[in-house]
Symmetry: C5
Subunit: 251 residues, 5 copies
Amino acid sequence: MADAPPTEEGWFAVHDFREIDWEQWRNAPERRRDAALDEVTTFLSDAEDIGEGETAIFTVAGHEADILILHLRPTLDEVERLGRAFERTAFGSFTARTNSFVSVTEIGGYTSPEYFEDPEEVDAGLRRYLETKKRPSIPEDGYVTFYPMAKRRDPEYNWFETPMEERAEMMAEHGETGKSYAGTVTQVVTSAFGLDDWEWGVTLFATDAVALKDIVYEMRFDEATAKYGEFGSFFVGRRFPVDDLDAFMAA
Amino acid sequence: MADAPPTEEGWFAVHDFREIDWEQWRNAPERRRDAALDEVTTFLSDAEDIGEGETAIFTVAGHEADILILHLRPTLDEVERLGRAFERTAFGSFTARTNSFVSVTEIGGYTSPEYFEDPEEVDAGLRRYLETKKRPSIPEDGYVTFYPMAKRRDPEYNWFETPMEERAEMMAEHGETGKSYAGTVTQVVTSAFGLDDWEWGVTLFATDAVALKDIVYEMRFDEATAKYGEFGSFFVGRRFPVDDLDAFMAA
Amino acid sequence: MADAPPTEEGWFAVHDFREIDWEQWRNAPERRRDAALDEVTTFLSDAEDIGEGETAIFTVAGHEADILILHLRPTLDEVERLGRAFERTAFGSFTARTNSFVSVTEIGGYTSPEYFEDPEEVDAGLRRYLETKKRPSIPEDGYVTFYPMAKRRDPEYNWFETPMEERAEMMAEHGETGKSYAGTVTQVVTSAFGLDDWEWGVTLFATDAVALKDIVYEMRFDEATAKYGEFGSFFVGRRFPVDDLDAFMAA
Amino acid sequence: MADAPPTEEGWFAVHDFREIDWEQWRNAPERRRDAALDEVTTFLSDAEDIGEGETAIFTVAGHEADILILHLRPTLDEVERLGRAFERTAFGSFTARTNSFVSVTEIGGYTSPEYFEDPEEVDAGLRRYLETKKRPSIPEDGYVTFYPMAKRRDPEYNWFETPMEERAEMMAEHGETGKSYAGTVTQVVTSAFGLDDWEWGVTLFATDAVALKDIVYEMRFDEATAKYGEFGSFFVGRRFPVDDLDAFMAA
Amino acid sequence: MADAPPTEEGWFAVHDFREIDWEQWRNAPERRRDAALDEVTTFLSDAEDIGEGETAIFTVAGHEADILILHLRPTLDEVERLGRAFERTAFGSFTARTNSFVSVTEIGGYTSPEYFEDPEEVDAGLRRYLETKKRPSIPEDGYVTFYPMAKRRDPEYNWFETPMEERAEMMAEHGETGKSYAGTVTQVVTSAFGLDDWEWGVTLFATDAVALKDIVYEMRFDEATAKYGEFGSFFVGRRFPVDDLDAFMAA
């Protein structure tokens, strides 16, 4: 039996993908649209200003969704409630949920075994870094890519039967690729075991859209990915300020 | 030929996943909504108070469903009828079935071979434990995770061609992982051979949502899972009292 | 090249799965519902009383369908026409087709090679038994399970490259498992090569729903299934008399 | 590198599968239905009588479609235009496209290498036979089966890495099976590389529906199929004269 | 670890597939249709005449879409905005998005390693050729085929574990096949890592529809494809001038 690495969880997350019924929107009376925008803008602003957690809204390119609303909160109840509350705004009735992902942020044992051995001993810098994994902040501006993933369990490529040491080595190599994008791409990894259909979710942020393509391409050659990675759908878009929602809907 | 282990069946189960048409609900006259809530609350309360069996309602996070209604009853007829009866309440017309799972609780031969060899000889404690597998009670409060699963039948990982003894050893290891969550996570395993598209359903209950993630992650490293487990969609949510349905719909 | 075993075909079959639009039904005027029930009950009764062939209606548990209508007839034209005729009744307009399976009953060469070698020589008992495979009668009451299946053609598990003798041995073992359920479970096997997406359909009947689970579970360990069987969706339900359709719709 | 065999293309084909909205049809005023039938019958008759090419209409059994309209024409533009033109008739508005297949007839190099080496040298009989592959005529009456297929490219079963000679041998064996159905089953093979999701489409015609089942079953044991064949959905139905469309819609 | 080849990106692309609601179109008042055509024709003409980038509209054969609108622009924001803007025209409300592909043009390191080693040294001809890969122009007329693809990562066929040199050799062989279609087929390759569900998109242009079939068939035998290529859906159609949209809608 291979060992499960230790983990430490932070905030729960829901990625809420929605398409807009543009025809219904166009046909609605201006008064109703204005009221809907007022209500939902207040709702999202309040959610962004919440004490603990993050909320952000993004455009999404392509036909699978028009917008992504991402909520991060300390409890599953809160993210579940926020998704439902958005759905129930007047604006929500102009949208339909096309996809979602329920997960929880984590510090994985591969990256920082020393933290799990003796958390008191790790220095303040690493501690702050690990803290951002549990309670990440979403960049104010820029592009986003989200995709769910899992590790293979095939006879020749079975991640969960691979000795801990080999997995750690592969994750270290993978981490090196990530580090080469430090300052360019920020990543938030969330775990979805028992919560959603894939094992992890990856959310990448960058101010250069090509960098999102580059990092995903380059990582595809890392052994951890080339041999063991399975991927779901990819979604790409851009964050915008809540106050620009009216401009987005008018564009 | 490998041997099929003995099993003993208990209650039939239907996991009934539904999404709510919030727009239709919002647009319905208050009187109609109140009447619908009265009727369905009575329906569910009566179902919960039934002599033999269990009924419970849960929120579901994410876009695949809003609520899960779980019925456990001595016969397939009863669970089939309860699903249809819910569908036909006025409240049901504000919902659409997005998924379901038809199965039957069982005591599996791997866990307690002595029970199948000589049921009279097993002690009262084990007997009570096995009884809860056939007629489980659903915790009053807390989180739930449901997922369907099957065992692989590939050339190198073929559960159904593996000798009984090896399967029993793997299930024992798997059981050890489960026991380490005793008091934290309760599980109900139901069999769906000949009843639904997967071989088994697993329903987990916990008061700590992270524990649901932890147990599923840790078990992924058990040989029985790492090599032989195939999984369908995962659904996570939380039980709520039937009397809170109006609050849920108003939230 | 492996040999295709001889077969002899009987009736064509269509398994017609439908869901009911309960809301539309509830909202329809009583007069229209009564007329629809009268018409469809007559249609189904007439179909049941047909000279050659069988027609039966079943409830279906779970979200994939509410009812199954099974037609068996000497020609493909007749089963195609019956499906269309049901669709076109007033009752049919309250339903939507969610699935179907087009196939033809057969006597397979594995089970009774002597019949194919010299049909005149087989005794009357076997002849009657084989006759029921071509022109099966549907039990008046009890549960039903339907599932489509195919045989694998993978490098290590390739049914169609396996020598005839080995296939016959596996089918004989498989037949033994079936015989141990004689009197408990009745099975109808239909071939769908060139007619539908899977290779065969299996329809099982039993007065005990657990027996349906048991036989499918036990057979999963037969070599013919463990190594070569691929399965589609499983549907479970119960036959009811055509005259109870009004009670079903009122329940 | 294995060699691509030579091919010679003939007519383009579109298989246009449609379901009928029977409720909408039933509810339409008789005048509108009559006008729709007149228009579409004329459209299809004209299409059938076209100088070069073929058009035919078929019933389809099962839930995936009600009718199939097959167009064969010298150019892709014509088949694309015919599909769109049908869609745009008044009758078309009572139908919805559920599936389609865009492909082109071909003479494959496996069957007649001598033709590709020196077309002048082949005798008139073979020339006429090959001509029917490029410009097939659709039998006036009888059953039809359509299915799309591809050849596997797996490590052990890789058609496109198999030497030309071995492929030719397998295709010859496969052709022998086909020849044993000469006079019973007619086949039209069309290529869909770069045109649709599968590599080839196979359309079989027979006056005996069981023969369609038999040939597909028997061919499953041919090495070319047992090891290399991958199949999509199968559709079965029956051709009917355009003038019977009103009877079909009234039935 | 295998090396990721260098790449250089050009324009972003969105392939926007849409089906037309012909019934809604037919039922709309002529004035509304005329206004919708005027607006969208202006929109598309303006988009075609844009300073940097390309926009083109194509028919699509088969049931998966009626039209394809292809936008190429220097930024992801522009292609995302163009897709949304089309959706929001009055004409857009007669269409529904059935598919899309978000990607970015690239010069791949396999084809021109010398360019990546010393871009200053490559001659003007190669430079112009590479420039067309980053900023391709869409042929005025002719057929188009689009399909998404990925490279396999299976134990025996793992592109991303194959040494750079072997990949380069296979890509060179693949390029030779492409060159034999020079003047007949033009191809645009776009990368979708981190942007969409597949790894690359291939858009082929030709004035002869059979050439599209031929090149895809012949390339299937190239080692890079036979062993490593995985393909999504194929779409085939034909470009038409924006000014012919009214004829297309009237046809």
